[in-house]
Symmetry: C2
Subunit: 281 residues, 2 copies
């Protein structure tokens, strides 16, 4: 199987500057395609920016899935022959604000996902989605999508992994947090663990560009099924991380003569998780 | 709350040398207690060693939970005023071989756990347990226990975490595997992620001492609720990792004004994990 080149574009975004943001995203995707990328991941809320003053400001920046941002990505995907996975501030058909992401290719919008686990003040702005992360067959492999804080929930990652995803793409906006000297960002560590425990590639596109006192990890990363970051770590700069991935490798979950990370699960024993949760609620 | 000193003893073990192994474990626990540790974790299969030729050899080394190894740990716990968490090769009351671990303190054997996810050739030797990791109230805090490969299953870690465990103790024998230059052992990365996504301390005692061609990571580690390794990384040597833990910190699952790593779970959406698994079986 020929490896597929995957690019994660760590783009500088500015809250409220939809034209500027979508322009920078477009140029990053064009440059990635020019460099041979066939799957391109761009950040969460890549049209609107992140640090809204309030829900009204988010609403003023939100677009339907057939609005100019996603329509622009579909045109770009067709023109460049790439798959694009990106996040955008969505006004859904019921007029509800969603933190959403799409998978688009020359077939148009292949999947629309709405973030199910909302971070901090997002809870004051967005309504979380209730649908599992989609798994989409593309010409380059089976791609799943989720957004940022969703990645912290291993149960959520299991769904597309068990659904056969070879590559999980995650648009994120990881707010900056201090870490001990010499340590990698904790978000990256968790992505490594998610990749390894599912033997699945995970490609994350973070952002840069401080907004209203919030700065970002800038932790764009591509992890392989062993959990190792490949293609380098971005760590803060506006840049694109690129790696050539043998996505077939993610179909093989064996890790020893007698072990398979998925077949070794014992889901009949995990059900008490839910019972325990109910007791604690 | 006064911090409690936790020690994880990375002991050299030799398959078949029960007296030598239990003696080295005893001396390591005594030294840890002397240095002020109140909770001491020792490796998996700390009586028997690991690389059995076959099930018959394991059977010849196995002991009931009231055998000399665990009885010795209870005596040690009483004499030193410590909690000991350690793994041993168990012959259960039905004559079945188990890869087990106990939590012992001055009250005796407080919990007996049988490894539920078996690694590689363990499947030819042991029968896996079916019971969730126990959570034990000790005078120093709520302690849970699981063993080695169990740690790779985030669903399994959720059970004691949701059950209120402040400190998950894990006896392990991590077989050595190559890793890219400059990378931390992948097992340690996954422990960091488990700690952070549950805001729980995790204390792992690995081993040293090559056996029949198998060497070990020697990755003994204590991770805090942010997922950072504290007290250093052992990385191969026979040594003890020590850290003073404020176990109260593990009771607070909040990570922002609006987020709590457990309350933010959406278990009603995770059930398809099990359905998906059944389809794939």
């Amino acid at each position: 199987m020929t490896p597929v080149r995957v690019a994660c574009c760590q783009v500088r975004l500015t809250v409220g500057d939809v034209d500027g943001n979508t322009g920078r995203v477009r140029r990053a995707v064009e440059a990635a395609a020019e460099a041979g990328a066939r799957i391109v991941v761009v950040p969460e809320l890549a049209n609107s920016g992140y640090v809204f003053t309030d829900a009204a400001e988010a609403r003023s920046l939100a677009e339907p899935v057939d609005g100019s941002t996603v329509t622009g990505w579909v045109e770009l995907a067709r023109r460049l022959g790439v798959v694009i996975v990106g996040g955008f501030c969505e006004l859904d058909p019921d007029g509800i604000l969603r933190n959403s992401a799409v998978v688009v290719d020359d077939g148009g919008v292949r999947a629309l996902y709405r973030k199910a686990h909302l971070w901090d003040r997002e809870k004051l702005v967005f309504v979380p989605g209730d649908a599992a992360p989609p798994v989409v067959d593309t010409r380059y492999g089976r791609i799943a999508v989720m957004i940022c804080y969703d990645l912290e929930f291993a149960e959520w990652i299991r769904l597309p992994a068990l659904g056969g995803a070879q590559l999980l793409c995650a648009p994120v906006n990881w707010p900056w947090a201090s870490r001990p000297e010499g340590e990698r960002p904790s978000e990256v560590v968790r992505v490594q663990a998610a990749a390894a425990t599912n033997r699945m590639f995970v490609a994350v596109a973070d952002r840069t560009g401080a907004e209203r006192g919030v700065d970002w990890v800038g932790g764009t990363v591509i992890a392989d099924p062993d959990g190792w970051p490949i293609g380098g770590l971005a760590l803060g700069r506006e840049m694109t991380v690129v790696a050539d991935l043998d996505l077939e490798a993610a179909l093989d979950k064996r890790i020893s003569d007698h072990n398979d990370v998925h077949a070794d699960r014992r889901p009949e024993l995990y059900a008490p998780v839910h019972a325990t949760k109910e007791i604690h609620d």
